[in-house]
């Protein structure tokens, strides 16, 4: 019974915690500019994420190692440090974007501009980290994030042509603006396959003391939670395609993104959008702050747990205190969170091999996983998607910067 409850909660929190500023912004921009044409990128990213999340849980349950622990142990400190630099830098940019997303949500609700929210929002995030437990952060924020299901309601209300939408699941070339198209495809992949999710998930499995009996639960949570989450991202794209594209509206700002929901659900759309962004970004900010602290603490061999008093793992608490404080600075100076989001999502794609390739080696190592190591399907799916993301990122980021 306890495990059935854990399973249900795991799926619900995966759905509630799936959307964040990156997935909403990239999907909204893609729908507004290219209609359904980029649905395939969400499908590909979600498929890869299902495998990666399942692997992260399996590694933790079988080997009792988090990903970071195992990478450091297996490949040595110099290599780990290289992974740490790349991954933490990108995760930090994503954290700035998420805090900015909360600020923007509060801006459209109150009229007070987002730079003024940078400090109070960062303080609340920090306070929850300081006082909260792992399950409060994992479950509380994600349950509130279930308001993002309103994007599915909005998509259904707009009555999409499902045949056209289904055709978007196969990659097609656009007639014009190819560099923007590929840049958005890369950003969507980066938003879907965020390495911080893996670090957070594997650390959570250790915090929750998973063992081999959790392997079936892990598989179901990864498959169903991520699939439903992927549907949410697709719903955002569909709403933007139907509500904004016919009117020629591009999503350059948060204010414009809100219009997709006011069109789809006139009565409550505005508030549902604002609350969706508020809770989704809040949950993501907590998860990223935790993931970065886990990364440092596990890599350097410090005490770590969100479930103990900060005095018992002072260096773990110091890392998130420092990171959250630094992340508030660019926002206080008015740096546009949407621009940071788009660049950080594309950079996530470009740096994916840094975190995923060593992880794939680990997942095939019998010392860590014994008979539970990866089969050829997992290796192929993840390997191919990461390769595609990396190649597209390397080609499209300079093209987008140079304007095609």
């Amino acid at each position: 019974m306890k495990k059935i409850l854990q399973l249900s909660l795991g799926i619900i929190t995966s759905v509630g915690g799936f959307l964040e500023i990156g997935s909403v912004t990239t999907a909204a921009q893609a729908g507004a500019q290219f209609g359904y044409k980029l649905l395939w990128a969400i499908l590909l990213g979600t498929l890869c994420l299902i495998f990666l999340i399942e692997m992260s849980g399996r590694l933790a349950a079988v080997s009792k190692h988090t990903i970071v622990d195992a990478i450091r142990e297996r490949f040595g400190f110099p290599f780990f440090f290289f992974v740490l630099l790349g991954t933490v830098l990108v995760a930090f940019m994503v954290l700035v974007a998420e805090l900015g997303g909360i600020g923007f949500a509060l801006q459209i609700l109150t009229g007070i501009r987002f730079p003024w929210w940078a400090l109070p929002v960062s303080f609340v995030v920090w306070l929850l980290m300081w006082k909260g437990t792992f399950s409060l952060i994992e479950n509380g924020a994600s349950l509130l994030g279930l308001v993002t299901v309103s994007f599915v309601v909005a998509a259904l209300r707009l009555n999409p042509d499902w045949t056209s939408a289904a055709s978007g699941l196969l990659p097609t070339l656009p007639d014009d603006d190819k560099s923007k198209y590929w840049f958005l495809a890369v950003s969507i992949l980066g938003a879907s396959i965020s390495p911080y999710l893996m670090f957070f998930y594997s650390s959570g499995a250790i915090e929750d003391k998973w063992d081999r009996t959790y392997l079936p639960i892990n598989r179901v949570i990864a498959a169903f939670g991520m699939t439903f989450g992927g549907f949410l991202s697709m719903a955002v794209l569909i709403v933007a395609a139907l509500a904004l594209r016919p009117k020629g509206i591009q999503v350059e700002t948060f204010q414009q993104a809100a219009l997709m929901m006011t069109t789809a659900l006139p009565k409550w759309g505005f508030y549902l959008f604002a609350l969706s962004m508020l809770f989704a970004c809040f949950g993501a900010a907590l998860e990223i702050s935790l993931a970065i602290s886990y990364f440092f603490s596990q890599g350097f061999g410090w005490n770590w747990s969100e479930d103990v008093e900060p005095s018992s793992d002072a260096r773990f608490a110091f890392v998130y205190t420092l990171i959250i404080g630094f992340a508030a600075v660019p926002l206080m100076f008015g740096v546009d969170p949407i621009k940071i989001t788009m660049m950080s999502m594309a950079l996530t794609s470009a740096t994916l091999p840094l975190a995923i390739v060593p992880f794939l080696f680990l997942m095939n190592d019998p010392i860590y996983l014994g008979k539970h190591r990866n089969g050829w399907i997992s290796n192929t799916v993840v390997g191919v998607v990461i390769l595609i993301s990396f190649v597209l990122a390397v080609v499209s980021i300079p093209l987008e910067i140079m304007g095609g």
Binding site: G111, G248, Q250, Q255, Q256, L259, T262, F270, M402, G403
Partner: protein, 133 residues
């Protein structure tokens, strides 16, 4: 490290400014946003502060992108016509923001109708620019 810095500088220096067609798309996007927003405000589905701030943002963006576009207008269109359409749209957006503050729905409705006419004029100019490229 030096090579990385050099590559970054080259990339940034070679950043290409948006084409006139892209600038017109951006202008139409802001005018379209204002129209959707305006209709929402008349139906009482968007709050006053958000509506006013977004209309002001649309006005500022329109002025900024329009000024850039008018620095080197495409030869295929009459720049006086473009300037006129942009000025009218900008005036209407600023007026709409004021009317939201005054909560004057009838007046707002009239200006919104005028903005829809501006949108048509801008769309025609945009089509001309796109067909010439």
């Amino acid at each position: 490290m030096k090579r990385l810095l050099f590559a970054t500088v080259i990339l940034l220096v070679s950043c290409k400014p948006p084409t006139p067609a892209e600038q017109m798309d951006a202008i139409l996007s802001w005018v379209g946003s204002a129209i959707v927003l305006g209709n929402g405000w008349l139906r009482h589905t968007t709050p006053d502060t958000y509506t006013r701030q977004t209309l002001t943002l649309s006005h500022d963006q329109l002025r900024q992108i329009g000024a850039e576009l008018l620095k080197s207008p495409p030869a295929t269109i009459d720049s006086t016509e473009l300037d006129g359409a942009l000025t009218r749209s900008g005036t209407h957006l600023a007026r709409m923001a004021q009317l939201v503050e005054a909560r004057n729905s009838p007046g707002f409705n009239q200006v919104l109708d005028s903005l829809e006419l501006d949108q048509k004029a801008l769309k025609q100019l945009s089509d001309k620019i796109e067909s010439s490229q």
